[in-house]
């Protein structure tokens, strides 16, 4: 019994080890890979991200000048963001909420290719 006393006291005042999710949400760590966002102003539709994506989550339609992103396929590996020459992709810390329908994001990038001088 005396050996158990500190444990009892600790558990009595320690509070629960769990969180009441989703009411109480832990703040994600800095640089957690949560989801990715595209910056249409910067992207030049070069296609580097689509080629490198291991999950085939990005498609480029050169004719329609569209970048199609399937968030449901994305495994948030950050490869696209690391390799984008324009820095048009950023990784945000918050995880995506669950979804009921397969989401498709269609982007119309407006970035201009700078002329090589």
């Amino acid at each position: 019994m005396p050996k158990m006393l500190p444990t009892i006291v600790r558990n009595l005042f320690g509070g629960p080890a769990t969180r009441l999710y989703p009411v109480e949400v832990r703040k994600p760590f800095e640089r957690t890979r949560g989801h990715i966002v595209f910056d249409d102003e910067k992207c030049t539709l070069c296609g580097g991200c689509a080629r490198r994506c291991p999950a085939a989550a990005i498609e480029i339609d050169k004719e329609k000048k569209e970048l199609i992103f399937y968030p449901g396929r994305c495994i948030i590996c950050e490869v696209c963001a690391e390799n984008c020459p324009r820095g048009a992709i950023t990784v945000k810390e918050e995880w995506r909420k669950p979804f009921y329908e397969v989401p498709v994001e269609v982007h119309h990038p407006k970035g201009k290719k700078e002329k090589a001088s």
């Binding site: 080890a17 760590f29 957690t32 999950a55 495994i75 590996c77 950050e78």
Partner: protein
């Protein structure tokens, strides 16, 4: 005298102690198990074939998904085998970082298993306590790599992220805490009367049997064989003074003790790696396609030895990638451990090899 009737009881593919599907057809005489026939193939995903069809840098992310628990080591091993194919050496800091993350995976895997063991006896609160500790390690992983489970931190030529001094301090605190709590809780688990009654002398695998059947990992080391891939000194293990952990008895209890002691050892290895980690680059650029050559790599996973074989052909795709995972080596041992035991002991003995079926079938 009445005749003893033989019955065949299917164990699995869906069973409360099995997180993954494997079926054991158990032949019993009364309550005694006399024969076991395993059936696998419920979750084959064709990963090796997928790896041949993909570009080689993308395979890292497929290989990480071979197993959800030791994903980090799978990723590192794939990168390592490709680096050997290219014949490049990664910077020393990257080697240390890989060791740190691999050992964190080991802690998280063993704590998960210890929780499941407690759960198999019905010690529900013990199960939750182990998983509470495990949560801290997952936090350390998220802090340093950006993800809790599938870290995706190795790349061909090194690692993607560095651990800065602030993160290092936090990790050291977490690891010390985990070690202290695991020690405390481990004492309670291993000295418990019920646990001993259910594991001591159950599922015995002798030293000779373990060697003949080619077992791996804690199953092998629980049977008094000092064999651990980390003894080769790959990555930075050679500089960390690694000694394998061995128990003599070869029963379920010995295997549990091996895992518990390895958890504590991994904590020490991380702390030592942090104290010795050199400064410098964390990755080098690897250009071109894998040459037409072959390479192999063996690494120690929480469950035992994983074997990677890669064959390149000068293109973006690999000619062949072969992975052999530890559970595949340990299933034959199960067929030796089970006959002779009571039907009620089957779940605990099956759990004692820490089966990971998704790995096995890929």
């Amino acid at each position: 005298m009445s005749k003893v009737v033989r019955t065949v009881a299917p164990f699995g593919p869906q069973h409360p102690v099995l997180p993954e599907p494997i079926q054991l057809k158990i032949t019993c005489e009364d309550e005694k198990v006399v024969d076991v026939v395993p059936a696998i193939g419920y979750c084959h995903r064709g990963i090796e074939k997928a790896c041949e069809l993909n570009d080689f840098p993308k395979n890292i992310y497929i290989c990480e998904r071979i197993c959800g628990i030791c994903s980090c080591i799978h990723g590192c091993s794939y990168c390592e085998v490709i680096e050997r194919l290219f014949g490049v050496e990664i910077p020393p800091r990257a080697k240390y970082l890989r060791v740190i993350w691999s050992e964190m995976s080991r802690i998280h895997s063993h704590l998960l298993w210890l929780g499941l063991l407690a759960d198999a006896f019905g010690l529900e609160s013990m199960f939750m306590q182990f998983w509470r500790i495990r949560e801290k390690i997952l936090d350390a992983m998220e802090l340093t790599t950006g993800q809790r489970v599938t870290q995706s931190v190795s790349i061909i030529g090194g690692v993607r992220r560095d651990i800065d001094s602030e993160q290092q301090k936090k990790c050291i605190d977490i690891v010390r805490e985990v070690k202290k709590e695991t020690e405390e809780l481990g004492k309670v688990l291993m000295n418990d009367y019920t646990v001993k009654a259910r594991t001591v002398g159950k599922g015995i695998l002798t030293r000779e049997q373990a060697i003949t059947l080619g077992c791996a990992g804690p199953t092998l080391r629980g049977s008094d064989v000092a064999e651990d891939c980390r003894m080769q000194g790959y990555q930075a293990y050679g500089e960390l003074g690694f000694e394998p952990i061995v128990e003599k008895d070869g029963d379920s209890y010995a295997r549990a003790v091996v895992r518990l002691r390895e958890t504590l050892q991994s904590c020490d290895l991380i702390l030592e790696a942090f104290s010795k980690i050199p400064e410098g680059e964390i990755s080098i650029k690897v250009k071109g396609n894998p040459p037409a050559n072959e390479a192999v790599f063996r690494a120690e996973q929480p469950r035992g030895e994983v074997f990677y074989y890669a064959k390149g052909n000068g293109t973006r795709n690999l000619e062949r990638l072969k992975v052999r995972t530890p559970t595949f080596a340990n299933i034959p041992a199960l067929l030796v451990m089970l006959p002779g035991c009571e039907l009620a002991d089957v779940p605990v003995i099956v759990l004692s090899i820490d089966p990971c079926i998704s790995c096995t079938e890929r």
